[in-house]
């Protein structure tokens, strides 16, 4: 049913329309995060922005990264942040507002910085997009699972057989380091955030 249509999502004729929709969603929701008044609304707009970013990843043929973004960022980190908001709330829908002067200064600096970045982006003539040589692992667009898995295990089939005699080391060592890092960080965070007697009054 779907076999003849499983081309690259971005190469499909509707791909650019979808890209524009999700890019606008990501950008506008990011601006809404800055403009929101309560922290929970900020979290809401941030969820929409990160979800649109995940959709952009799917359009860029990075299926695994997009799914990891949804699972870890939206389903994990943001839930953690919202729990933090609930635990640190001083009152119902309390607004900690910034003064208008600071808002204007921040907006001016942000726009200047955005102009600098956009100017540098458009000043570079990017090379033509090329289909990356998959080497011995003929993958289709978006199916990056097996190459990613093998890269994390220390082999790079897309590089090892196509290039010279140098075997590339893969990403096994960073993978192990990140695993230990996560363990240490989460034990430390759980210890830091353990229930203690709350300070009485201020």
């Amino acid at each position: 049913m779907s076999s003849a249509l499983m081309l690259s999502a971005a190469a499909a004729p509707g791909g650019s329309v979808l890209f524009v929709i999700f890019a606008l969603a990501a950008c506008l929701c990011a601006v809404a995060v800055v403009a929101a008044q309560t922290v929970v609304r900020m979290a809401f707009w941030l969820v929409l922005s990160l979800g649109s970013t995940a959709a952009l990843f799917f359009l860029a043929d990075a299926d695994f990264v997009g799914a990891a973004q949804l699972l870890i960022y939206v389903g994990g980190t943001l839930v953690l942040l919202v729990f933090g908001v609930m635990l640190t709330a001083s009152g119902p829908y309390l607004k900690i507002a910034t003064s208008p002067g600071e808002i204007i200064l921040g907006a001016v600096v942000a726009l200047l910085f955005l102009c600098v970045v956009v100017a540098s982006i458009s000043g570079v003539s990017w090379p033509e997009p090329q289909v990356a040589d998959a080497g011995a692992l003929q993958t289709t667009a978006g199916n990056t699972l097996r190459p990613l898995g093998l890269a994390f295990l220390g082999t790079r089939p897309d590089q090892d057989l196509a290039d010279g005699d140098q075997l590339s080391p893969g990403y096994l060592l960073p993978f192990e380091i990140v695993s230990i890092h996560l363990l240490v960080v989460l034990i430390g965070a759980a210890y830091l955030a353990r229930a203690k007697r709350r300070a009485v009054g201020t």
């Binding site: 650019s16 990160l50 860029a60 910034t98 970045v117 990356a132 990613l148 890092h181 955030a193």
Partner: protein, 100 residues
């Protein structure tokens, strides 16, 4: 859909994150700014992975960024909770005990 479009999206996310970090007084709001900054960088990595010879390395690095951002959010939240437990407020402007 070109590389520049992706980089523009990344730039907008990055700038919004910076503004969030600079102007929000709620500590958790500052953390949300950090998440936006890291997402802007991730969009850049994935775009370069698709449109240049960077290939798989861009996606691997963005996976590492996602995982490390989750770890960093956990620690930052633990610190914020500690701060709240000691001062009964999450307003970062009140964290001024070390002021000279």
């Amino acid at each position: 859909m070109s590389l520049s479009a992706y980089l523009l999206v990344g730039a907008v996310l990055f700038v919004c994150g910076i503004v969030c970090m600079a102007t929000k007084r709620n500590g958790i709001g500052v953390l949300m700014g950090v998440e936006l900054v890291l997402n802007g960088a991730n969009v850049n990595f994935v775009a370069f992975s698709k449109y240049t010879q960077l290939g798989l390395d861009g996606q691997i690095i963005s996976l590492f960024v996602i995982v490390l951002a989750a770890a960093e959010a956990a620690v930052a939240l633990a610190i914020a909770l500690n701060f709240y437990n000691n001062h009964l407020t999450i307003d970062v402007d009140r964290a001024s005990k070390l002021k000279g």
